[in-house]
């Protein structure tokens, strides 16, 4: 059987398929999932492709089992992934929390649909943005990436795995039904050209190994099951040995590190796309599919003589606070269109509040923004 993905070249490919291929090229060899629209194609592709690559595909009885299984597979040293949509993520959240607490590298793809509850299964939304950050109970740092096209869905899946391995946590890809079901050109590079980051496997002797040692970069070394380290790990608040310790001091060290390890590396994690930002009066902050729908509106506003730029969030979490704060000091205001009733706008407002106003253009889902609404908002901010 093949040991490596043989697929490379140019393809006319659906977003979900591109995501699955991205995962395969970065070395994902375990997929546990449960079908849900609009993410099912990822599972279907994995079911077809993983056996060709000596990988394991398993369709579980539910999303809870899927999430739990990828944590187990990751502890066994295999890059693992699951893909789902809003309601599925809701079920997975407890075990995502376990993944955060145990610091298990894995990737969770959320192809968002209209919500809440069953919402609009075959239609789109961006309403799980805050859920990705704050969904599981408790404090933890998290990473979420937002692709705008099938090509980026492919690329960001690779990045997500690399981040997961490097920072030891479940990483979210927040796509949406449009990007997931859109078919576009996708270029898949040869395997040797893909940059891979592997987790930091410990080289220490078993007796010296501490699974949750507080080290300089706050990311402890990893030992996989079966390597003879005989370590313990738990979802309980734990000390450096991984033993449960129910004290205030231990909670402080344990949980603070989970938040700090992402804060500390935020600058390396954050990816942004900036267009015409330098002399802009108005900055449109958008992500995912919305970042594409606003482009014609921005172009039209420019023709009207308004200096308007686009700041696209590729990394949504950790939030690019520094960049927004810096921009806030020189622009007239921000416009934040998103396919929810105002989620990421809260973050932009938080960073810009001291300096300028932020205008939210909401959409409840099931469609995309009206072109004119965005132009109107840009004008309002520009001529305020």
């Amino acid at each position: 059987m093949f040991k490596q993905s043989k697929l490379y070249g140019e393809f006319f490919m659906q977003g979900d398929i591109a995501c699955a291929e991205g995962a395969l090229s970065v070395g994902c060899r375990f997929f546990g999932g449960y079908p849900i629209t609009p993410a099912s194609e990822i599972a279907e592709r994995m079911a077809f492709r993983l056996p060709l690559l000596d990988g394991v595909f398993i369709q579980f009885e539910d999303e809870i089992a899927s999430m739990s299984s990828i944590l187990g597979a990751s502890w066994a040293g295999v890059k693992s992934m699951t893909a789902t949509s809003g309601p599925g993520v809701s079920l997975m959240l407890e075990n995502i929390g376990l993944g955060m607490m145990m610091e298990v590298p894995c990737v969770v793809v959320n192809v968002q649909r209209g919500s809440p509850s069953t919402g609009l299964p075959t239609s789109w939304g961006q309403a799980d943005m805050m859920q990705a950050r704050w969904g599981s109970h408790g404090d933890y740092g998290s990473i979420s990436l937002c692709p705008k096209s099938p090509q980026e869905f492919f690329d960001l899946t690779i990045v997500a795995f690399n981040y997961a391995e490097k920072y030891r946590l479940p990483v979210f890809i927040l796509s949406d039904a449009i990007v997931g079901h859109m078919t576009e050109k996708v270029v898949i590079p040869p395997v040797e050209e893909i940059k891979l980051v592997e987790r930091k496997y410990t080289k220490k002797k078993p007796k010296d190994y501490l699974p949750y040692e507080v080290v300089e970069d706050l990311i402890p070394e990893f030992a996989k099951a079966g390597d003879g380290y005989r370590y313990h790990t738990t979802g309980l608040t734990h000390d450096e040995r991984g033993y449960p310790v129910m004290t205030e001091e231990c909670q402080k060290i344990c949980v603070t590190r989970l938040v700090e390890k992402i804060k500390k590396h935020a600058d390396e994690i954050i990816m942004l796309e900036e267009r015409d930002i330098d002399d802009a009066d108005v900055v449109v902050v958008a992500y995912g599919i919305t970042a594409r729908t606003v482009v014609p509106a921005i172009e039209k506003a420019k023709k009207k003589g308004i200096k308007v730029g686009l700041l696209r969030l590729i990394t949504v979490w950790p939030f690019p606070e520094k960049r927004i704060r810096k921009l806030a000091q020189k622009v007239k205001g921000f416009v934040v269109p998103e396919i929810n009733l105002g989620q990421i706008v809260l973050e932009v407002e938080r960073c810009a509040a001291k300096y300028v106003t932020t205008k939210s253009i909401t959409h409840p889902g099931g469609g995309i923004h009206n072109f004119n609404d965005i132009i109107k908002a840009i004008e309002e901010v520009a001529y305020e």
């Binding site: 375990f30 398993i58 739990s68 597979a73 693992s80 079966g226 313990h232 979802g235």
Partner: protein
């Protein structure tokens, strides 16, 4: 005989020399454990360790996965790769681990509440798939750690803190559920049947397929006291009185009630293809065809390129 002679006959090792016979497999730095006096979990853990020794497994390749609750703490006391996961989700966690590394011996060690209430769905599906993991379920008829609430195994009429007038829910017959769902190996013992239990654990450790062992174990604090006004020891005496061994019993027809017999034994021990074996046999020929097809396509592409080049 005076005291001096006594000392000469029985030579006791000094405190430094003394060590626990299972020290190598237990996290001694975590002792004392949190289990109550009279609890059966100590015996269950001892049987587990002895079973693994008897099975002669490579301890570096054993992973123990637990859920939540009193039994869930087993993962924390055993000195192997051990994972204390979320409530009810130990089985899918273990499934992922086993499928990702088939060299591991993966054992789920958890309680009846964890495996059959919140985790019931995972149990029946793992048994259906015949995933190659071992599940040891300690059944103490009650939710111990959360304070004696009703469990899916609480016998009819038994008292619990959420059944103050006596339980009116039909309990699960755990071996029946496991057997009916397709497990390859199903056994039930009480915490008194230590030798037989150890043998069962050893048998399961080297057996492929989904193995399920129920251990009927006394909960001294919230079950024995509430229901019998007694201790864990009284409950053990009760088990001794009521349990009989019958390997030929139909596992689906032997529920446990408040005063009837507790039928123990090794009810099912059969070989059938595991999940991974089915995956292998299912995909092998198809994958080969797929590879052939890709190879054919590649040759075809080469031909076309050659042709177009020669035409240029």
């Amino acid at each position: 005989m005076n005291n001096e002679n006594m000392q000469a006959i029985v030579e006791r090792p000094s405190d430094e020399e003394q060590h626990h016979p299972m020290e190598d497999l237990l996290r001694m730095d975590r002792m004392p454990h949190i289990w109550c006096p009279g609890c059966g979990l100590g015996s269950c853990l001892t049987a587990f360790v002895e079973g693994l020794i008897k099975a002669d497994v490579n301890f570096d390749k054993v992973a123990v996965v637990s859920g939540i609750g009193c039994t869930g703490r087993v993962a924390g006391y055993i000195k192997l790769d051990s994972y204390h996961t979320t409530h009810g989700r130990a089985i899918p966690f273990a499934t992922g681990m086993k499928l990702a590394n088939r060299d591991l011996t993966v054992v789920v060690f958890s309680g009846d509440g964890d495996l059959f209430a919140i985790g019931g769905n995972h149990l029946i599906h793992a048994a259906r798939r015949n995933v190659d993991i071992n599940v040891i379920c300690v059944n103490n008829f009650i939710y111990g750690m959360t304070g004696g609430q009703n469990a899916p195994t609480t016998p009819l009429k038994a008292y619990s803190s959420t059944a103050p007038y006596g339980n009116y829910e039909q309990p699960f017959n755990l071996v029946g559920v496991a057997a009916a769902s397709g497990a390859s190996y199903v056994a039930r013992w009480t915490a008194l049947h230590l030798r037989r239990l150890t043998d069962s654990i050893a048998e399961a450790a080297n057996k492929k397929g989904f193995c399920f062992i129920e251990i009927v174990s006394p909960c001294a604090t919230v079950f024995a006291r509430r229901n019998m006004g007694g201790t864990g020891l009284d409950l053990l005496k009760e088990f001794q009185k009521r349990s009989i061994i019958d390997h030929s019993a139909d596992p689906t027809k032997i529920p446990i009630d408040m005063d009837g017999k507790i039928i123990c034994g090794e009810f099912i021990n059969e070989d059938k293809p595991t999940f991974w074996e089915n995956v292998q046999s299912g995909i092998k020929s198809k994958v080969e065809k797929e590879v052939e097809w890709e190879e054919m396509q590649r040759k075809l592409r080469q031909k076309v390129t050659k042709k177009s080049k020669s035409m240029e």
